[in-house]
Symmetry: C2
Subunit: 248 residues, 2 copies
Amino acid sequence: MPAEDVHPVAPQCGDCPIRHRAVCARCEADELDLLEESKYYRSFEAGQTVIWSGDRMDFVASVVSGIATLTQTLEDGRTQMVGLLLPSDFVGRPGRETAAYNVTATTDIVMCCFRKKPFEEIMLRTPHIAQRLLEMTLDELDAAREWMLLLGRKTAREKIASLLAIVARRDAAIHLRYPEGTMTFDLPLTREAMADYLGLTLETVSRQISALKRDGVIELEGKRHVTVPDFDRLMSEAGDDSDGGFLP
Amino acid sequence: MPAEDVHPVAPQCGDCPIRHRAVCARCEADELDLLEESKYYRSFEAGQTVIWSGDRMDFVASVVSGIATLTQTLEDGRTQMVGLLLPSDFVGRPGRETAAYNVTATTDIVMCCFRKKPFEEIMLRTPHIAQRLLEMTLDELDAAREWMLLLGRKTAREKIASLLAIVARRDAAIHLRYPEGTMTFDLPLTREAMADYLGLTLETVSRQISALKRDGVIELEGKRHVTVPDFDRLMSEAGDDSDGGFLP
DNA sequence: ACAGAACCTTGACCCAAATCAAAGAAATCA
DNA sequence: TGATTTCTTTGATTTGGGTCAAGGTTCTGT
């Protein structure tokens, strides 16, 4: 996949409001029109379920603003988050009838949806879109596998530090403000949601956050606003060497 | 993605020996020839490393026979398996220069490799292949997410039962012999590899296998040959209701 | 057939995280 | 404004699985 054939990032996408890069960027006119026709927006309030696992799902979508989670549950209620959808993330699967996960809005959220049928047809005719989607799916797979390492082998403290590092990085990527290593952001998740993400209980999450604060790795203002005085320190608490090449 | 545009399974693929369905099935003549040209086989002995994480990887490949694992490690040596490659599974990522995981042969293995450049070029020109690859990647992502549920929320006993159920199912899918619910298969992994897969220690794996045997959920002949007298019982030990629709 | 290595099992003990419990902030509502 | 609910913190206790240790099996090569 030569670089010049890969779509650039969404903001270059003229007036197509969808952030999802496979759809937006460098669209040829015809394709753009076709997508426009099958496109609609839906918004959900914090806490609302977007779709239940097993429900019929006749659309694919990208997150415009807000945050949603993908979760799986065992029948006795144990819950594991398996994905975190931030703005520009894609959800849904061409070629599948029903949803495989619960999708829940954790903040107020706006999604840009496409009816699945037309989307699939466009995908068949425009290699760029299928290839961009493949690339994104491979990125998600990498993220899932990194998460497997976290779930299987990291301690509670390392798990928390990893999550904070990920949120900090995603935030930095958007806001581009990190004077000399200091970062500041809002946690978009409750303690319980963090616990579900990390395979912990909410009490353990709370205790470890308190511990990181006590040890000066982070500072807290209220319960959600976090300052990271030394990102490298946080990364080393997270246990893995590589930063995934995310930060410049 | 209409059904008639999806490639059927590999065995229908004439004399193309690769099992990887995106490449093999229903190939048009030109594409098949192109793939033939860039194709070569490599074999590895049990225990050999196929490729190290971070190494340059200028091929993609599918497993012809044998078993390989994908693993990630923390710098202090903690290891987590993030993928299990059985015959017909695909490894490698178009558009990436270096390997993201360690790939290790756990049995003697034969892989069918394609040079990455030609493979990518063919992918650009033949939508079928990109779409099949997308479908496979989405399947892998689903599997990874199911594994996240296992790693984050299941008990040691449930983890072992889940792994046994998965191996039993893959085996049944190949051999198609399960008289009235009884299944028999060989574990393709050492206790240590199972531990790395499940986020446990090898001692815990050993203890839980002994417990399942004591409780009559499985029977063991030697250390590797397993008989499952009641697959439903095993599934209920695994903790999740759905069997993923795998068995008929 | 034997020696050595690799793999596996079992026991004793310990600790990180779960569970149980209570109470303190913060948001929402009447 | 206070009342209720939701979210969070902290403490006390328990426990599942890790760690350390010692043997037992099976495989491999000579």
